[in-house]
Symmetry: C2
Subunit: 215 residues, 2 copies
DNA sequence: CCCAAAACCTGAACGCAGTACAAGTTCTTA
DNA sequence: TAAGAACTTGTACTGCGTTCAGGTTTTGGG
């Protein structure tokens, strides 16, 4: 959103043809509010910026702000609607011909890729304000339902415990990679880390290498 | 706190001898506020109870409420100071002679045991108000630092990624067991579930049984 | 037993998040 | 181009969380 200039007048490919004026304006407003918010928060810190500040700076009323974002934290952590739609498309059209765990790993890598642009900013905000860790997890909860459906589609025995376990454990791997990642590092480092974490969880954490007495 | 009557005048063992009057009153106030809050929330639902209601019903001022609990959600999810202290004692005095993963599993089982009394209530509140799932995770964050230290003590190579991964993945197992547990079931069901989940995570979730194409 | 210091409780006032609603404005569609 | 749907806005309200000055209770030393 900073480097590439497709924020306002540069619609990408055929999307603007499909979307009406109304929908385009909405997306534009969403992005204006978000980027304004991230800028102010980066400058002053999360607590020192009020919703009123953000709304005013974005040229919109406080009421409108809350029609776009349910909470103040959401403006920092919600996913771009278009990026989310793209990722959902990938998940929905995913073929079932690969083993579950590697395929699941790729979905997380895709997600990190989709989020690439603003992930460093989010990370920096979190570093400055650790109390928001919960909100960061809430970001994951946005796509958790999609992943749950995807997983349960592939565990036909209907084992709810197993399905939830696969979801939560894989997400733990993803979150761990995010936690340890330094936003100054390039994205590839994060992606490798995601793969590593997911692989380790998949391979089993009780493996001999981690148990001192059985090494 | 309901069945056994050690709330007020029946101090258990030597604890009251160690604690001064001041400290004893504090703990008592803490428990009065908490139980009052849980009662009201169970009756009316989380959103329909204000902090003012709870404070009034507990015979304490609103300001005092916030001196005991940082937020309204905390009154439903914070851990009993004494129970927390007992668990911390167990963690600190734990011997290092067993393999990591089974020992870690036991710590989670211990935790569930310590929380046994109010876990069903908490679970019911969450069922009625799914929006509080985040707060439930915040409960885990209370003892996350202790677990982190415990784990890193046993991963001497100082691998931060591995340490965090062990923490997050094991916690995912614990949370999964909690999620799937029905509060109407006895505690043993939960404890078994915790053990099962942790064991599966430890054994590796990418095992053949879960991968359709390699089965 | 008494007195000072410390810890605690309280009421009042404040800022801000989030909601509800009625009135106005802009886009759509027929 | 007109009816209607969708969006925006100002206003008013509830309730969370903080601050602070002043009163009360506990503690510990003399």
């Amino acid at each position: 959103m900073a480097r590439t200039g497709h924020t306002a007048g540069t619609p990408r490919c055929s999307i603007s043809a499909v979307m009406g004026l109304r929908e385009r304006k909405k997306l534009e407003a969403w992005r204006t509010i978000r980027s304004t918010a991230l800028r102010l928060i980066s400058e002053r810190g999360f607590d020192a910026v009020s919703v009123e500040d953000i709304a005013a700076e974005a040229g919109v009323s406080r009421t409108t702000f809350f029609s776009y974002f349910p909470t103040k934290e959401a403006v920092a952590f919600d996913l771009d609607p278009q990026a989310l739609a793209e990722w959902r498309e990938r998940v929905a059209t995913d073929t079932d011909d690969r083993p579950l765990w590697p395929a699941l790993t790729d979905l997380y890598v895709d997600m990190a890729t989709v989020l690439a642009e603003w992930l460093p900013v989010q990370k920096r905000v979190l570093q400055q304000h650790p109390g928001l860790t919960q909100s960061a997890r809430a970001t994951c909860d946005t796509f958790a339902p999609d992943l749950y459906r995807w997983i349960s589609r592939r565990t036909p025995d209907g084992d709810r415990l197993l399905t939830s376990l696969l979801l939560n454990a894989s997400m733990a791997g993803y979150i761990t990679a995010l936690e340890v990642w330094d936003p100054a590092d390039p994205l590839d480092v994060l992606l490798d880390s995601v793969r590593t974490c997911l692989h380790r969880v998949g391979a089993g954490l009780a493996a001999p290498e981690h148990s001192p007495s059985t090494a």
